[in-house]
Amino acid sequence: MIDYRLDWGLVTENLDRLMAGLGLLVVIAAFAYAVAMTLGLAMTLLRASRLPILRIPVAVVVEVLRSIPLFLFLFLVYYGAPQVSALVLTPFVAAVAALGLTGAAYASEIYRGALKGVDAGQWEAADAIGLSPFGRMRYVVLPQAFRIAIPPALNLLVALLKGATFVSVIGVADMFYVSRDISLQYFAPFELYTFSGMTIIAVTLSLAGAVAMLERRLDRTG
């Protein structure tokens, strides 16, 4: 057996590259989150439509996206799209698209749940005081639905960041790509993966912790 000697110096020497890789993960998650929250809202509105031709296809897409692994969907977008269309995506764009579309399906469920969470009496009361359908949404339903949606919507951001950790499999030069690159050059997989793994766990845990704290606060003042 080979004698494996730890060399943590490799981590400190390459800290700037690793941190740039972490930054890229955060940027991908943030872009994907923006896509997810916007597209998810559109999906929710379409699913509430009275026209089956709008409602059914969107419902099917949401179900499919929630049923297939994100990991598989990433490969389908990156390798599959150029085969059947003129669309050649860079790894970065493919990562944002795959995470954003899958995220949108989950976001749409969050919005739907939040709208359902607003008591039916609130809708009726808004009608009774003579608000227009727009006014009912704007002044009565949405402010309450928004509050219900905050914790799950923030948890979606955490989930997207976790999902972003494997974008290096399609060649995005993130923290794990950099870790592999350095490991292959100097043979130090333990140090590099331990560092990048601990770093991403620290980031997701602090984010999740902040969400949990906010949730408790909303419950108290709710």
Partner: protein
Amino acid sequence: MDFDFDLVLTSLPQLLRATRVTLGVTAVGFFAALVVGVILAAGRRSRLIPARVASFLWVNFFRGAALYVLVIWLFNGVAVATGILLPALVVGGLTLALLNSAYLAEVFRAGLDAVDEGQYEAAQALGLRPWDVFRRVIAPQASRIALPSVGNHMIDALKDSAILAVIAVPELMFTTNRIAQSTFRPFEMYVAAAVIYLILVNIIAALLRLVESRMGIEPTLATGTTLR
């Protein structure tokens, strides 16, 4: 656009064999996670402070970890540094078990918390011993509350298992990648794999709803609730 359906048909036997690996590694990993999850949930309620602290740290560490990160770390990092080289399938099952034990521990904890305090008091008042209080009164109620979430986590674990392709576990995703690369038809292969995952997820969801209705529990969401 031409969809090469023949390719899908000719690779179907390979895909189905790989699906058995997917189901096997998920089942073993998930079952181990159930056992460890129960132990962790008990640890959180223990009178011993070290048991509580250990369970808390375990649960929160693995809840924060992403499967890809953990599997790469164990398979490439830890294995090389310690010289303990385990087969990919074992590392894959182990990783699924570690992550899901943390999620399930939280599910069991929430289930136990949801059982009314009066139930404990009533069971004690009847003169039941502590173990019987748990086994005959608390556990049946807590497991009914926990079942829907456990089912959702099972679906999540199945979807998560696709990531094990990165350490060459010969499961569905890995096999799909291999055929996609050798035939230069990624679109057909990934769509075929997606359909298989879709069917598996819906079968589990349907079975879950069946069990739930048998037990008189209100049916829950069909597919995973967390992004995987």
